[in-house]
Amino acid sequence: MSFFNFLNRRTSAPVARERLQILLAHERGIVGGQPDLVATLREEILAVIAKHMAVERDNVQVKMDRGASVSTLEVDIEIPTPDSVVRPAA
């Protein structure tokens, strides 16, 4: 436990960086006069996927990173594995 704490304390900067990136992606949408772009995208992507397969709301992650010249939109959708889908009896 104490060793784990020691490691954790040494690497707090990456945590700060990630928290800021997520927070600012959200705040820039609001302050920039745009309604929450990331949330809107998430809802619409979810609706399109849901037409074709069953996905859990919580398994769709949309993340946006703003860069100097290029911004990236990261969409991570977890789809159920065949095992968890009920198969027709053979």
Partner: protein, 268 residues
């Protein structure tokens, strides 16, 4: 052509006033005609950091309201005759600053100086938006710390929307000044690295001011650090930053390890 520069940050206590005094003195040391203007009405401190607190007679509000002429309110620095100070009022309310009055004072200052450096109050209220209103260039002072980075991001948004330039469809030139930086702690992962802050805020780097006792020592005695100890790490960093603002190419011979040599982003 005169340039109006705003030193801003959103968050308080990150080093706006110290940086205004140091950059103002450094530009004057480079031969430029400079005036530093304190916009922090009611909480003025630029006079104290510059060592001119006992020489204040008239202030910005007196000039804005027409109670004093600009030449009566300007205080010329005793060490650098190319450097002047326009102090804020300590007793009056900031509501006395009118948009028209500020516009008039700034245009009068543009005729007399090469650089008009506006020291913004903290926050995003009227005082801060007035200080950035007429800016051509902005120096965003940021500490490598979450709350400061978040507030700087907010201020960058305001610079892109609430300034005269932004309203005309032009852009305020923005620069990042990273202050109170400790490269050893950043390398250990205890503090945000300059690369992290640059990536998050996406504006070019003007300079990195190391955490230093020299900065406090300089304000203790009422002298900008570039005058009090020009050869200290902080003094040199501010002088380099001022040269970059002036458009000179500055290459700093930094002591760097292999790691930072490989991953360092150059200042624009």
């Amino acid at each position: 052509m005169a340039k109006v520069l705003v030193v801003t940050s959103g968050k308080g206590g990150v080093g706006k006033t110290t940086s205004t005094a140091a950059l103002g003195a450094a530009l004057a040391q480079c031969g430029q005609n400079v005036v530093v203007v304190d916009f922090d009405v009611g909480l003025r401190n630029l006079d104290l950091v510059m060592g001119a607190e006992r020489r204040v007679v008239f202030d910005l509000i007196n000039v804005v309201q027409g109670d004093a002429k600009l030449s009566q309110a300007l205080i010329r620095d005793k060490r650098l005759d190319k450097l002047s100070l326009l102090p804020a009022s300590q007793t009056r309310d900031k509501d006395n600053l009118t948009d028209e009055g500020i516009a008039r004072v700034i245009s009068e200052l543009r005729e007399r100086f090469d650089w008009i450096i506006c020291d913004s109050p903290a926050g995003i209220e009227r005082g801060a938006t007035l200080a950035m209103r007429h800016a051509d260039v902005a120096v965003v002072v940021t500490n490598p710390e979450v709350s400061s980075v978040r507030d700087s991001d907010r201020i960058i948004g305001l610079l892109d929307s609430k300034t005269e330039k932004a309203e005309k469809g032009e852009r305020v030139e923005k620069h990042l000044l990273l202050t109170r930086y400790d490269p050893v702690r950043a390398e250990r992962g205890e503090m945000l690295k300059k690369e992290d802050v640059l990536e998050i805020l996406s504006i070019p780097l003007l300079g990195i001011i190391p955490e230093s006792a020299e900065v406090v020592r300089a304000s203790n005695v009422g002298a900008p650090v570039t005058l009090n100890n020009p050869n200290s790490a902080a003094g040199r960093a501010y002088l380099d930053a001022a040269r970059r603002l002036n458009g000179d190419a500055v290459v700093t011979p930094e002591k760097r390890g292999l790691f930072s040599k490989l991953f360092t982003r150059r200042a624009a």
